[in-house]
């Protein structure tokens, strides 16, 4: 698994997107990153939330694998000011986490959810606080207008924890599944000198 970095950049989002696209094209780099606005990131401390409220739109987050993040950070440092971008801080991501919950009413959908979130997990990713239950009501068969009850109910919840790359992959899977609700991505890491 590759290490990922979080780059916090001051400047307009469109400019950063253009800068990254130009950098990728110019360097021939293929490994892509993820913009913070494309994933739901959890805001940290109350102070950070307050800063985000007052400085909405002034700072952008870009998450990238190390082979891209390091030269991109360098390029931002060297040429970013020319287009109004400034790399404010960089963090090496050590782990990530998100919570999920699902309630589904068909065995097929339950199998999809189980496969995507519980069994076929990337290396270095695990489920914590896992709670899973199945309810079966064989007597509740066919349409019932006044006292509806599903014949089958599957409920699952937990936290997906592990390396950022693996957690991001599971988070993206979860977002394509109906009946699954996901919480924001919580990132842990250590700040690097920029």
């Amino acid at each position: 698994m590759t290490d990922w970095h979080e780059l916090v950049v001051e400047g307009a989002e469109r400019t950063l997107r253009a800068f990254v696209a130009g950098f990728l094209a110019g360097s021939g780099e293929r490994a892509g990153g993820v913009f913070g606005s494309d994933v739901a990131l959890e805001l940290g401390s109350p102070g950070e939330r307050l800063r985000a409220l007052f400085a909405a739109g002034s700072h952008q987050i870009f998450l990238a694998p190390e082979p891209l993040a390091v030269p991109l950070a360098q390029a931002l440092g060297e040429r970013g000011r020319e287009v109004g971008l400034a790399l404010e801080r960089r963090r090496l991501l050590e782990s990530a986490k998100f919570s999920f919950r699902a309630e589904a009413f068909s065995r097929d959908v339950a199998a999809q959810i189980r496969g995507a979130l519980l069994t076929a997990l990337p290396v270095g990713v695990r489920v914590e606080r896992r709670s899973e239950e199945e309810e079966k009501h064989p007597e509740a068969h066919g349409p019932e207008p006044f006292a509806p009850l599903h014949e089958y109910v599957y409920r699952v919840s937990g936290d997906i924890v592990g390396s950022f790359e693996g957690v991001l992959e599971v988070w993206q899977r979860a977002r394509t599944l109906d009946f699954v609700e996901t919480g924001p991505l919580h990132l842990e890491g250590k700040f690097l000198v920029t």
Partner: protein
């Protein structure tokens, strides 16, 4: 003491079990579905007993007569009609593969809206929800289609005939002529047209966001559409003819349990039972299996409406005597047709629409014709103040679509869709994302056009 006098004697709190019964039907499926599924007969019996026992002990013969009257004149014919429509509708199955484009979905919605008035909203929803789900199986954005299906097929479409929605059949049983509901065509056209138009806009928006593979036209011919159990249409015709017949011929009266029941109504019920039996005997079991047909829905209706009809007696008696009864404050609160449209509509959004319709019909009669015999009062209402009845009928039928609990087929469609893998909106999601932005503005416009 006459039965009519009861309304002036009953205290307002005697309507509490009726409210309790309706709130139980509305809230238990949301809050405690497993408990409700297993114990709703006990809950219904408990609310009924709370009314019937003290009512009969306190008022004796007039109370017993009221109970017998509601059983013979309202309850039994109501259950027979719903049973016949449900059995016959459950004998028709639409096979084949449609492709869920906006135009195909729109056509299915329109067909269901037109059909709902003839096979009942529950029957039309049961008949078309599976073809709609199959057509949209490959699509990612499906929930909005099922929600608009609830709006149109499970509710608004049922307003054109007394067969369409239970409130209108109750109105028919109480003396509203069969063809009177045809007068609602403008309201239906306006409302259904606006909602269907909104649906097409929504679906075109989401269709453009589907994967290219989903939007691409399939290379080969699809599975052709086939309707199985066609012969049940003949039985539906029999139901229609029997109901119309009971409203047009006079065959004298027969006394049952001390209650005078019209001969034509007994003939109607006999024909309906005959159509039910004929449909049951002649429809292959395979079709019923494909429709997941069971008697459970009719059992639910029979048990819960026994509770509704038992507990509604004091409320209707108090409303019928107008400002002389303990519910005079209700009579005074609703004065104009627009008030009746919204009051019956808002209550129908959260409580069952059939008793709501009867409650506001009695309110209108109590307000405009207090003390006049019900059938005569209804004829005068239609002749002199028909806008009130139009407002009550459309409010009760249309606004059942406002929430999942507004009308029985709403929950049924939600449940079938969820089991087919469609993530339906939550109770409040349905209201906030669909009812408030789509239905309420349409109903507000309908108020300005028809009831102001």
């Amino acid at each position: 003491m006459h039965a009519e006098d009861l309304g002036t004697l009953l205290p307002s709190w005697s309507a509490i079990p009726f409210a309790g019964m309706l709130l139980s039907i509305a809230l238990f499926p949301l809050l405690a579905p497993a408990f409700w599924h297993h114990h709703y007969p006990k809950v219904s019996a408990a609310w009924s007993a709370v009314v019937i026992v003290p009512f009969v002990l306190a008022y004796g013969a007039p109370a017993r007569h009221e109970l017998a009257h509601v059983t013979v004149v309202d309850y039994v014919p109501f259950i027979i009609l719903l049973g016949a429509l449900f059995t016959i509708g459950g004998g028709i199955y639409v096979r084949g593969g449609l492709r869920g484009t906006p135009w195909v979905n729109g056509t299915l919605m329109l067909s269901g809206t037109l059909l709902a008035s003839w096979v009942g909203t529950t029957g039309a929803a049961m008949l078309l929800v599976r073809p709609l789900l199959r057509a949209n199986r490959a699509r990612r954005h499906r929930a909005h289609t099922l929600v608009f299906f609830i709006f149109l097929v499970a509710n608004i479409g049922g307003a054109l005939t007394p067969l369409g929605d239970p409130p209108l059949f109750l109105g028919f049983l109480h003396g509203v002529p069969f063809f009177w509901t045809f007068a609602l065509w403008k309201e239906i056209l306006f409302t259904a047209g606006a909602v269907l138009g909104a649906y097409l806009c929504f679906d075109l928006y989401w269709w453009r966001r589907e994967d290219a593979l989903v939007r691409a036209r399939p290379a080969g011919p699809g599975e052709p559409i086939r309707v199985e159990g066609w012969h049940n249409v003949f039985f539906l015709g029999g139901v229609l003819a029997a109901v119309i017949l009971s409203g047009t011929v006079q065959l004298g009266e027969v006394t049952i349990l001390g209650v005078a029941q019209r001969g034509q109504n007994l003939v109607r019920d006999a024909i309906l039972l005959l159509m039910l039996a004929a449909s049951w005997r002649t429809t292959p079991q395979r079709i019923r299996d494909d429709n997941e047909f069971t008697w459970e829905p009719i059992k639910e209706v029979a048990i819960l409406f026994a509770g509704i009809f038992a507990t509604i007696i004091p409320a209707l008696a108090m409303l019928r005597v107008g400002e002389q009864g303990a519910l005079a404050f209700v009579i005074r609160a609703v004065r104009e047709p627009a008030h009746f449209f919204w009051a019956s509509g808002i209550l129908s959004s959260f409580l069952d629409n059939a008793p709501t319709y009867l409650t506001f019909l009695s309110t209108a009669l109590g307000r405009l014709y207090p003390g006049v015999a019900e059938r005569e009062a209804i004829h005068r209402l239609i002749a002199e103040n028909h806008a009130f009845l139009q407002a009550i009928a459309t409010g009760s039928v249309f606004m059942g679509a406002n929430t999942y609990i507004g009308n029985a087929p709403n929950f049924m469609v939600k449940s079938i869709a969820e089991e087919a893998g469609v993530p339906m909106p939550s109770f409040f999601g349905y209201i906030l994302r669909y009812s408030l932005p789509v239905l309420i503005p349409v109903f507000a416009l309908a108020t300005l056009v028809f009831f102001e």
